[in-house]
């Protein structure tokens, strides 16, 4: 059988439209406007990438679904059960390894999964050797939107998005600050004519002067420091560009509406962070930022590697539990399930925004992963990799594939990056270098 996600979707939509009439459009039009992949104007909806990372891994034996296959042939595992509402949008790949030396617990895996490469031992200590996968995508597909990428996370601890060595893009932890950044001053709803503020041009000229200062100083620095100022200059130019785009009409997207302003603070309750609530609120904001085409690449760093976050009802911090809890680690298991509940909320935020005859979730690919598999051992084998959304029909959904072993996680990264529109000859280095995607999940 030739499985093509697009065909299946088209067929499904036809059946649903014809039989249940749950969608308020005639079947013929559904078939014609084939995969819900078009703007109101008829152009294709942009393909977006989401990266979802959590800290301290999973428990592979309770994570891996019992059966492989597509559609009803497989069922979610106990750790993935919270994603039941989105099973039809999921691709689960198990049994892949990061084929790099595991020299730094929580470090080798984070760098290995997000760059495909080994940690760089540079003059300023260990760091990422090259941009993380979200930034690789942002460089390729993020140029036309207001924000090249957005990084956030309820307990992100800075997050893991790097533009290059030492070039961290710190993740926003405050829902209110994220709202202000995305939808505060300067955001214009579709159809509204921007009211041009004379301050914008003045701010641009200030940034221009700052950019000149940056270029002048850069000429006086050593090579490594020149790179640091290049990154600063890059941010200055990006903000200038953003200010100039304010004067243009916003993207004309029917799904784009102004989200509700979040509370200014989400204080800890009973000593525990409001992790799930903050994640839900921020995920709704970024889903709307996608619908408003303010950005095409977002990263959600829910929790950080080695975090000792107190999850609901957990008797100890997460990292401590992964190491100190004996047996089959029921408390760690409960935390992984809670993380998946949070991921489910993130997916719901996308699925709840109708776009064309699909949803925002149909037009993106979320890649969910961690910096280790089994936290107790800091393993890099049988790595957690989840994909949600088909990237406008380029990735298969509702499928569990298990590798026979010895294959690199890089295949999946390459599939996802190519699916969202990044042209890449290869991903990774040494044994972890691949030139092919993971065919089993590609359409």
């Amino acid at each position: 059988m030739t499985r093509k996600g697009i065909d299946r979707r088209t067929l499904l939509r036809g059946i649903l439209g014809g039989a249940a009439v749950s969608i308020g459009l005639p079947p013929l039009e559904l078939f014609m406007n084939s995969h819900g992949t078009a703007w109101a104007s008829g152009e294709a909806f942009p393909t977006r990438l989401g990266l979802f990372c959590w800290g301290n891994g999973n428990i592979p034996s309770r994570w891996t679904p019992a059966a492989t296959g597509v559609d009803d042939a497989w069922a979610l595992s106990e750790q993935l059960a919270p994603l039941q509402d989105f099973k039809r949008s999921l691709a689960v790949v198990t049994g892949l390894d990061i084929l790099l030396p595991n020299v730094a617990p929580h470090g080798s895996g984070a760098v290995g999964i997000l760059t495909g490469r080994k940690t760089l031992e540079g003059p300023g200590g260990s760091t990422y050797p090259s941009p993380t996968l979200d930034q690789v995508a942002a460089n390729a597909i993020g140029a036309s939107t207001r924000f090249k990428s957005i990084e956030y996370g309820a307990k992100a601890g800075g997050g893991l998005s790097y533009g290059g060595p030492y070039a961290l893009n710190p993740a926003e932890e405050s829902p209110y600050a994220l709202f202000q950044r995305l939808f505060g001053a300067g955001f214009t709803l579709p159809g509204d004519t921007p009211i041009i503020d004379p301050a914008w041009a003045l701010r641009r000229s200030v940034l221009d002067a700052v950019g000149e200062d940056s270029a002048r100083i850069r000429a006086r620095l050593g090579i490594a420091d020149q790179r640091r100022l290049e990154q600063h200059l890059y941010g200055v130019r990006a903000l200038e560009l953003r200010l100039s785009r304010l004067e243009q009409d916003p993207p004309d997207l029917a799904a784009c509406t102004m989200p509700t302003e979040p509370a200014p603070e989400y204080p800890d309750l009973e000593g525990r962070a409001q992790l799930r609530e903050k994640n839900r609120v921020m995920s709704e904001l970024v889903a709307m930022a996608w619908a408003c085409d303010q950005t095409r690449v977002v990263s959600n760093f829910l929790t950080h590697p080695v975090n000792d976050v107190l999850f609901p009802d957990a008797p100890m911090g997460h990292h401590q539990l992964t190491h100190d809890e004996p047996g089959d680690q029921p408390e760690v298991h409960a935390i992984v399930k809670h993380v998946m509940e949070c991921f489910s909320d993130t997916l719901a935020a996308c699925a709840n925004i109708a776009e064309g005859d699909g949803t925002v979730l149909d037009h993106c690919a979320w890649l969910a992963t961690s910096e280790v598999s089994l936290g107790r051992l800091h393993s890099l084998e049988d790595y957690p990799l989840l994909i949600a959304g088909s990237a406008n029909g380029r990735l298969l959904n509702d499928i569990h594939v298990r590798s026979a072993g010895g294959e690199s996680t890089s295949h999946v990264i390459l599939s996802v990056l190519r699916a969202v529109g990044v042209t890449l000859p290869s991903w990774g280095e040494d044994d972890n270098l691949v030139t092919d995607g993971y065919a089993a999940i590609e359409t």
Binding site: N102, P105, G107, L120, P123, G124, G125, P129, S130, P131, Q135, N139, F147, K148, E151, G163, P165, Y166, A167, L168, N169, P170, E172, A177, P198, A201, L202, S205, V206, A209, V210, D213, R220, L221, G222, I223, A224, D225, R227, R228, L229, E230, Q231, Y234, G235, L239, E270, G271, D308, V309, L310, P315, M316, Q320, H323, D324, Q329, R376, L377, H378
Partner: protein
């Protein structure tokens, strides 16, 4: 030059010569700098968050109320991260917002306005007055006189903004915002100049910046810049006078002695925050159901206690640094006094007090700050406490744990009621023991203090055994262990190394061995007084000389962000 440095050190020695510890054989002659010394290439540092906040406070008289680019920890220290991190896209946005916010609040205050704008504008657009403002503010913010081209460009920004927005002050606001977003403000360019003797030294302007961020955690004031303008900061006498004045200035410390108002300034407090990770206490996470004494204010209070003690030790008593690990003198408020189960020394705020003589809680490592920070949210952690002592108090290196090792420990049981029994696994398994024997036995010495630092004698109905040994010297309890740490030769050397890294913004290399030896010797000679070693560090070539730019690329593999915005 070497000779003149030595001469001055001799003079200082007369002024501050004291008997050695416990008045033993006397201090002997003060060590002099004779290190074979090869200065390293310049370090290009970004302002840390507190440096930025203090600088804006000093420049504009207003507080920074929005977030800016967070600090990055490299090799355990933020001051090292400042030398390798950059500014992200979000950071550029944040610095822009913070600069405009601060500028407009300052200009709205008539008194602050008067100090910022040194002339009365004759019209909405007044380039002469604008240029005066730019020169005055620019010198303070960029820590050097502005070049004419820079003055012209910034005056042009003031001119344009005033023209478009309609008031002279609008123009000034944009001028301030431009200077505060510039890398001339946000980064420190310190590259030195080759003198007639062929040695490359930091210029007086660069020394002003180096001194002010080291001693005040902020920008130089007018007086320091005047000393730079007179080129006094490259001379021993000028430098020494500047250091003396700056250490006596309120900006040198965060807390006035005995309960006065807190400042955010203070180079010493910022240093210990960085070296000892004390900033983590501002976001302490503990389960309040497990620890009833936990509150949102406990972490910040413990932070303040430790910093007050450190500042008191260095500024008020100038005592032996090592005694910080055994002293009963501390500063407490009511909340901390209740956790320590001692009478509160004051009804409100902090006051100095002495912990009971019959208790075993002594010294810095008997404080809530260390005990709570290096524990888990619901339990203690001998491993984390021990690792911290090895790495941050003794400056030893603990290798990362190997991957693929089962790290679980057994649950409490009849055979293993206490954590000591349960972590014994770490020490029995030879694979784990290599490193854990360095950490756990030391950390177990603090098991009489729970996860927020409260005293406890019993765990799971079993009397806690807090005895152990530190590198072959046995101890009975935490007090005993504090004495061993105070006597351990690595302890004073560690704080010297940390100070070196903090002041220079880089890790020492083999080329710095002799410089560190000298600093360690002079620290010992002084009876381990931090002020003395701080002064000697600043006066030494280590703080004043620099090499040429490093134009080599040792990470040729690296691939930077190649996209276009």
């Amino acid at each position: 030059m070497r000779a003149s440095t030595a001469g001055l050190l001799g003079m200082l020695a007369l002024a501050c010569q004291t008997p050695g510890k416990d008045g033993q054989d006397g201090p002997g002659p003060q060590p002099t700098w004779a290190a074979s010394w090869d200065a390293a290439s310049p370090v290009f540092r970004r302002l840390t968050v507190t440096e930025y906040e203090n600088a804006v406070q000093d420049l504009l008289g207003v507080e920074v109320v929005t977030a800016v680019e967070p600090d990055v920890v490299v090799n355990g220290m933020r001051s090292l991260g400042a030398g390798s991190s950059s500014i992200s896209q979000r950071g550029v946005e944040q610095y822009e917002a913070a600069a405009f916010n601060a500028a407009s609040s300052a200009l709205a205050d008539p008194e602050l306005h008067a100090s910022l704008v040194p002339c009365a504008p004759q019209a909405t657009v007044d380039d002469a007055c604008a240029a005066q403002f730019v020169e005055q503010f620019g010198r303070l913010a960029w820590r050097r006189p502005l070049e004419q081209a820079e003055v012209d460009r910034l005056t042009g920004i003031v001119h344009d903004a005033a023209t478009v927005l309609g008031t002279f002050d609008d123009g000034v606001e944009y001028g301030i915002a431009a200077m505060l977003q510039s890398p001339n403000f946000l980064f420190r360019v310190e590259q030195g100049e080759v003198g007639t003797d062929g040695v490359r030294r930091y210029t007086s302007w660069e020394m002003a910046t180096r001194l002010s961020f080291l001693l005040w955690d902020s920008v130089p004031d007018e007086a320091l810049l005047d000393a730079a303008a007179a080129d006094e900061l490259t001379t021993d006498a000028g430098l020494s006078a500047a250091v003396e004045r700056m250490l006596a200035d309120p900006r040198a410390r965060r807390y006035a002695d005995d309960g006065g108002a807190a400042d955010t300034h203070g180079g010493l407090a910022a240093f210990f925050d960085d070296a000892y990770l004390l900033y983590g206490l501002e976001s302490l996470s503990k389960d309040p159901l497990v620890y009833e004494a936990m509150s949102a204010t406990l972490g910040p209070a413990a932070h303040e206690q430790t910093l007050r003690d450190l500042e008191y030790w260095v500024f008020d008593t100038d005592n032996d640094f090592r005694d910080l690990f055994t002293t009963r003198i501390t500063h407490l408020n009511r909340e901390l006094a209740s956790v320590y189960d001692v009478p509160a020394p004051a009804r409100t705020g902090f006051a100095r007090t002495e912990l009971p003589e019959d208790g075993i809680r002594r010294g810095l490592l008997g404080q809530v700050s260390f005990l709570a920070l290096l524990a888990h949210p619901t339990t203690t952690s001998p491993t984390r406490r021990g690792k911290y002592i090895r790495e941050h108090i003794l400056c030893e290196v603990i290798p990362a744990p190997p991957a693929g090792v089962n790290t679980s420990i057994p649950e409490p049981s009849g055979e293993a009621p206490t954590l000591r029994d349960r972590v014994a696994q770490h020490l029995q398994d030879p694979y784990c023991a290599g490193c854990h024997k360095l950490m756990d036995p030391v950390g177990l010495g603090y098991e009489n203090f729970d996860g927020i630092g409260r005293w406890r004698a019993i765990e799971n109905n079993t009397t806690i055994d807090a005895s152990g040994d530190l590198d072959g010297n046995s101890f009975h309890d935490a007090w005993d262990l504090g004495k061993l740490i105070a006597e351990e030769s690595h302890t004073p050397k560690c704080v010297v190394k940390q100070l070196f890294m903090y002041a220079l913004g880089r890790q020492p290399t083999d080329a710095d061995d002799e410089a560190l030896d000298y600093l360690n010797e002079t620290f010992a000679w002084s009876g381990y007084r931090v002020r003395h070693v701080l002064n000697e560090l600043v006066m030494s070539p280590a703080f004043r000389e620099v090499n040429e730019l490093d134009m080599t690329v040792d990470d040729t593999d690296a691939d930077t962000d190649g996209g276009t915005p």
